[in-house]
Amino acid sequence: MNENNNLLVRLRDCGVQKSSKWIVKGISLEIHKGKIVTLIGPNGSGKTTTAKMALNILKSDEGSIENYSTKMAYVPQKISIDWTMPLRVIDFMNLTSHINKDEIIEALELTGVQHLIYDEIHNLSGGEFQRVLIARAIAKKPDLLVLDEPVQGVDFNGEIALYNLIKEICIKLNCGILLISHDLHFVMSATDHVICLNGHICCSGSPKSIVKNSSYIELFGEHNAATLSLYQHEHDHSHQTDGSVKN
């Protein structure tokens, strides 16, 4: 094992190259049990790619990945639900491991979709399906949970409830969470470590150290204000068009 039993994943200087272009480069991060690490950044900044490296779906073309996790669960960003398969929610819950029915119902109750258990997946709305995806990941009782924009398409009240649930799960299961989110409100208030990506790690640290003026967000509270304040981090470098650092 490792010197620190709480360590689940460690990326050291990792990156992914696609047709001789680096999608992300120089990524170092650690995920520990009971902690939430959040990735934020603009579209195409490599958030999903970084998550896939942590999950061992993508191989890193440089650096090293250590993975001590024994059970990973994943809520992917996009699943096409145009399936030719007659798949009910209950079948989907059992997709990668057998989970007993009581636990399935319990998990679906947590995300508020227990009434859909025998419905066919392709009849669900986007938001309902997202709730099922989260429930499935929780029901697996993972030690590492990776959530890629988990609340997309979920109604406003549901969003808050689900974010609270994610926080609760992290404590209850003592699992490490890697979260990709655009909801800076939640990111700033509930996560332990924030990484700002743009093809590389622009800055990282505790939410407070990321946004120098955290009271600014609390004062205005609005999504836009939060967004603006977040990107007001002090830049000690400038970007080229592909996001790499200009020397």
């Binding site: 999950l55 994943y74 798949l87 009910r88 079948d91």
Partner: protein, 268 residues
Amino acid sequence: MFDDFFIRALVAGVGIAIVAGPLGCLVIWRRLSYFGDTLSHSALLGVTLAYSFSLNIAFSVFVISAVVALLLVSLQKRTKLAGDSLLGLLAHSTLAIGLVLIGFLSYIRFDLMGLLFGDILAVTTADIGLVWIGGSIILIILYFIWKSLFSATVNYDLSAAEGMRPEFSNFIFTLLLAGVIALSIKMIGALLITGLLLIPAAIARNISNSPRQMIVIAILSGILSVVVGLFASLEINTSSGPSIIVVALILFIISLVPLEIKGQLQKR
């Protein structure tokens, strides 16, 4: 009991239908019908090679189908052509090579119709053994890789992230498809094998609402198609492959009826 050619054909046919059921469902779910077609067209090349070098037909068909499947994967990585173009390229060129080779082998008496459309008279006792033993092996392997295959069919990334090793099971699945084609070529014929994979699974899709139910119904409707098709083939003296597929088509049309009724009820 196996003395009668018709009984032999029935026993072999039912065996094939049982194996084709679950594989056919996967072919439908993964949208691989053209892939199945390509493999079965290349099967004809396998048969001619078997005659040329006096190999076992099923073995030779299996090897050629597997080679074609691997070629497809490597071409997909190397070229910029879409999957369906590559499939068409491989299907028709292997079929053409097979037919050209048949021309060279004029000294062997060939039943081309039999190869393309199946011939129940050709089913021997050894073939029955091959179908049932080979079929059992295919089903046992399928059982062991099922969770991985199934989860990768739903979502590849999810399956990979949660430790299901989908790349490996995808590869094995390709070999299993080649296997079922090798087993059924004598009975159904190179041109129509995909029909026996697809149509029973399509019937099942119409009237089932869970994956397990769909597999069971696919197997049952496959067996029904084979039995009725073979009787029809005997009665009116038609090729076995087309007769089985026509029966399957009729069952498919019948399976649309519950869908129609359901649709009408929902409109009210």
